[in-house]
Structures are given as C-alpha cells and as structure tokens.
Amino acid sequence: MLYSLALSRSSAALAFRRGPLNFMASDSEPLSGLHQLDSQALSSLHDKHFPELFRYARYRLADADTAEDAASETFVRLLEALQRGGGPRSSPRAWLFGTLRHIVDDHYRAAYARGIETFSHGPEGDGAPDAAIEADERQEEVRRALRFLTSEQQHVLALRFGGGYSLEQTAEMMDRKANAIKALQFRALQALRRHLPEDAG
C-alpha cells in the first residue's frame, strides 16, 4: 500500500487519538522497599509497569514471546541494579523504559551478529483472512523500516506512537526537554518515511 497521506479525518483520529494514559498520572512511587528487595514493593512495581513495558517491547519486536521476555528481563535487570546499590533514583518508569530500550537494542545487535532475520512470519496462509495478512505485511514493512532508524529515534516513536505518551511525558521518560523530543520526533518520522516502501501494496 502507499504511505502517501491517506488521512481521512476518521483514520487520522483513529491513528492519533491516544491521549495520555491514565497510569501516567503519578510516578512518585516509594523506592525504599525496592532497595530492600521487598517482595510486595517489587510485585507492586512489576504489576504497575509490566503491561506498558510489554507494549513498548511488542511495538519494537516482531514476536510476542520475545517481547514478553524482554519486558520480564527488564525487572531482572532492576533486581541486579538494586543489588549493586543502583537502580532508579527518581522515576522508576524512566529507568525501566531506559533499560528495556537497551535490552531491545541488544536483541537486535545479537541477532545481527548471528545473521538472523528478526521479522515475524505473520499469520499463516491457511485460514488467515486476506485483510489480516495484508495488515501483518504492512506492520512488517514498518518494523523493517524502523530498523534503519537510530535507537533513539525508534525509542521516541515507540513511546509516542506505540505507547501514546504525550510530548511532555516522553521528554520526562527520556530525560530531555519537550522541544528536543519534538525535534527528535520530526527527524525520526523523516527517516522512517525515507525507508518505507512507496508502493508497498
């Protein structure tokens, strides 16, 4: 399909009407229990953030199982960091997303080193509706194009368009100013446009 602007008002609204997620309301969680590896504090933190971490990983990774592993590994890294006396200093969410970003990057780096293609095979032909196959192919094209972007560009697109975080929320999570995120988003979309097929469908 052609990625030239097919923005009817309804499709545009569908694509972008993802206001701030309600769980972004507060990130001021107590950190004390974490450093004692308190199971209740860890469980609470895990249950609060695992779904959004999974969604981020799934946005960047073609395979749901790999995304689940990556999100889960993020919390193991948190444990290891806490054990070393490190870990989040203020915002656990920013720390978790920063760590997950590196895990996803490492996944692609390792796959590249092994010469493994990291795209999913999509729904199998038998019984899969044409629309589902087409949608899956389109997603693969986007993921393939995303791999040409820098890690930070992929990160900002995953947060903005995958997670639906606002400019300000993304800035906070990336430890940047909102204007810097705006510029990064602009360049990320420029780069994505360059690498998307013009007549993919």
Partner: protein
C-alpha cells in the same frame, strides 16, 4: 515568525489526534512544505499502525513469578560494590589491615603481589590494595591520576596474561578501537563477541568500556559482558546547579565525585566526560571549558579528559583540518546535535563554522554493513545519526560517497552518505 517544521508537525499530529483535518495548517505553506508535512503525517500513520498489543494471557503472572523467584535467591542486604570488584573476595578485618599496609608500600607482600596476574592467588590482593588506595585518596585530581595509573596497570596485566596464553577470568577498562560482528578491538586486545555476550549500552568505537571475559590461549578474550563506561561529549552549558547540569538539552547528574573546572559558567562550551548506567542515566565525571585548539596551542587535555584517540582514516581518505564538533556522545543517535534541540545554535550548527583541528574525510567505498546507527564502509566504521544526510537510500553492497568528521571521542560521524552511480 514562521513556525519551525517540527512545531508544524506537532500541531498537525495534535489536530489529527482531535479528529480534525490539517487543511488549516497546510493553507499557509508553500507547495513543497505542504507536501513534506503530508509525507510526515503519512509516516506517522505508518508508525501508529503498529498500534498497541494486548498482553498475552498469563504473561504478567509469569514475569512476576520469575522476578520474585530471582529476588528470593538474592541476599537482602544491598551491596554497592562496583563491577570490577566482583572478582575480589571479601576480606576479614585483619586482611584489610594487611591491605592498608600493602597499599602504602609497607610489608613484604608488595613486591610479590605486584608481579601477580589475574588467576594468581595474590592478584585479588593487588587489585584490592589499589582500590583501597583509591578509596583513601580524597583529592580529586590525584584520585583521577591514580585511577588512570591503575587502569593502565590492569591493561598491562592482561597483556602479560595473553602473552602467556593463560585461560582465566579477566576484567578491565579500555577504549573501543574497532567493532565488527564477532570481533572487537579494545585497546590492543582482540575480543571475541558471541551471541552470549551481554552488551550494555550503545557502544561505539572511541568509547571507554568495561570488559569482563575469559582470556584464551590464542591471545584473544572471550567477552562475557561489555559495559559502556564513559564517553566524551561537547556542548553549550545551559544550566548548572548543585545536582545537575544541562548541556545541549540533555540532563547530566552531578555527584560529589564530579570534577568541574572552576569558573565554568552558563553559556560556556563544555567538554564533558560522562558515565552512563544501565538505564541510561548520565553522570558527570568531569567538565572543563572547551577551547578549540589552535595551531600554536596544545589540544585540550587534563587529567579528567584524556586525549581522544584517532583511528586511522581509510586509505582513500583525504584528511583536512576543518572543524570541531558537537557530535560526541553515546551512540545510536542519543546525542546527535539535532536531538539536542532547544535552539538553533545547537541544532543547525555547521561543523565548518567552529574553529579548526578536527579531521574531515571524504571517500568513496562499498557499504559492508548497516547495523542501526553504525555503518561500515570499506572497513571504516562510521556513525550515522538523525543529522546525517543520507541520499538515495544506499544499502549493503552499494558504492557510496561519504563525508565524515572525526569527533572528540575518536569516532567518525557521517555528515553525508550519498549513493554513487
């Protein structure tokens, strides 16, 4: 005043998010600008098409169980041991007294321990003594000198170890000089990197990393874990307080160990040495006022900022002194100038505008690999970020023309990569 392109894009995204069209925004634009905005919105639609995925059934439970199992197997006491000390056993108070004596040259152990190598019984004593000496040094500049000295000693230990062909665990800090899929060059050591190697941080040539691995009889090191330790970057100091500084739009934390040049003030060009932890939190090791080198002045070099190493340019290169730059920083575009945007001076700076002393190369070559922000063209590793102009979508195997600059951290940043006919 005409709005910036990124502001227009954001306004269009917000408008689309409200279910409104972007015709009103397009009205005031030229045909080219309108086409560009439409194309970016199409890219945004594509980016949104990946959408959000439902959490698989049981995924959260599985992950929570894994987390709690792992937590229960860990001691509850929080340890603040830095990674290099993982190889060192805990010592009794008596041993600490002995170490104290050793650290300051007292007692007969010193000579014996000084010649020990990784794997030897006395090697942990040697490392711990150096570490204790560091802990007891409170003067920042002297501490940095000692750190540098001990780091060089660790490298020499590894050199001797490899020459002897011993197979033992090693841990050291070094600068990355080359990266390929399976073989990295760190200092003068070839590192074998496998799928099992854990790489933490976006490591690029020129950066300082911590290596943990096992020396091999063939003179290589099998890498177990590679941690980005620090990198150098340059930018304009935007704010400074007791806890943090903002340079080029990015926040850097300050600790009691951060060394700042006296008199460094907002508005100065600052050369930073930065450490970065697993989550990407950046902490200042040192910050000095940056003055571009002149033909008669020595390059900026302090105890806190070791001189950048210069990888050999490709044989087809034609180095020419042209510029300093703002493109240092963590790899993967994390500190690209375009990403620092909070003012046109940082985002649109022409590298040729800013003094002299940094090399520029132009050469034609074949693209051998593309791995995210890292391209290899004719054996030369080149960093690409959001500011790089890439024309005609070259791919692996294509012949391209490259214009690149040598950055302060020793890496080459591509200003332009163009497909050649």
């Amino acid at each position: 005043m005409k709005p910036r392109a990124e502001d227009l894009l954001q306004a269009a995204l917000e408008s689309a998010g409200r279910g409104q069209g972007i015709d009103g925004l397009l009205a005031g634009l030229s045909r080219e600008e309108a086409a560009e905005l439409r194309a970016l919105m199409a890219a945004a639609t594509a980016a949104s098409s990946l959408g959000r995925s439902d959490l698989p059934a049981g995924a959260a439970r599985r992950s929570r169980s894994r987390l709690l199992r792992r937590a229960s197997s860990m001691p509850s006491a929080v340890s603040a041991r830095p990674p290099l000390r993982r190889l060192i056993p805990r010592f009794s108070a008596a041993a600490l007294v002995a170490l104290f004596a050793l650290a300051f040259g007292l007692g007969g152990l010193k000579e014996a321990a000084a010649t020990s190598l990784p794997g030897d019984a006395l090697y942990p004593v040697k490392v711990a003594a150096a570490d204790l000496r560091l802990q007891l040094e409170f003067e920042a500049a002297q501490r940095l000198r000692l750190e540098s000295l001990y780091a060089e000693q660790r490298l020499e230990d590894v050199r001797q170890l490899l020459a002897l062909g011993r197979v033992v665990p090693v841990s050291f800090h070094g600068r990355v000089l080359g990266i390929s899929a399976t073989l990295w060059q760190v200092e003068d050591f070839p590192l074998r990197v496998t799928a099992r190697t854990r790489v933490v941080g976006e490591i690029l040539p020129g950066m300082l990393i911590e290596v943990e691995g096992i020396s091999q009889a063939d003179g290589t090191i099998l890498a177990d874990e590679l941690h980005l330790q620090s990198y150098d970057t340059l930018g304009t100091l935007e704010s400074l307080d007791a806890e943090q500084m903002i340079v080029g739009g990015r926040v850097f934390l300050l600790t009691g160990r951060s060394v700042l040049e006296p008199g460094l003030v907002v508005g100065d060009r600052a050369l930073l040495r930065v450490t970065i932890d697993d989550s990407g939190v950046r902490t200042i090791v040192s910050a000095v006022r940056f003055s571009p080198p002149t033909p008669t002045a020595a390059p900026v070099e302090t105890a806190a900022t070791a001189p950048p190493r210069t990888p050999p340019p490709p044989s087809t290169s034609t180095p020419a002194a042209t510029t300093t730059d703002d493109h240092g920083g963590q790899g993967g575009g994390t500190q690209g100038p375009g990403d620092d945007d909070d003012g046109p001076s940082e985002t649109t700076q022409d590298p040729d505008d800013d003094g002299e002393g940094t090399e520029k190369i132009e050469f034609n070559g074949v693209v051998q690999s593309i791995a995210g922000s890292q391209w290899v063209v004719d054996g030369q590793t080149i960093r690409v970020d959001s500011e790089t102009e890439i024309k005609d979508d070259p791919g692996v195997g294509d012949t391209v023309k490259v214009v690149a600059f040598l950055l302060s951290d020793g890496t080459w940043w591509a200003e332009k990569i163009e497909l050649e006919d």
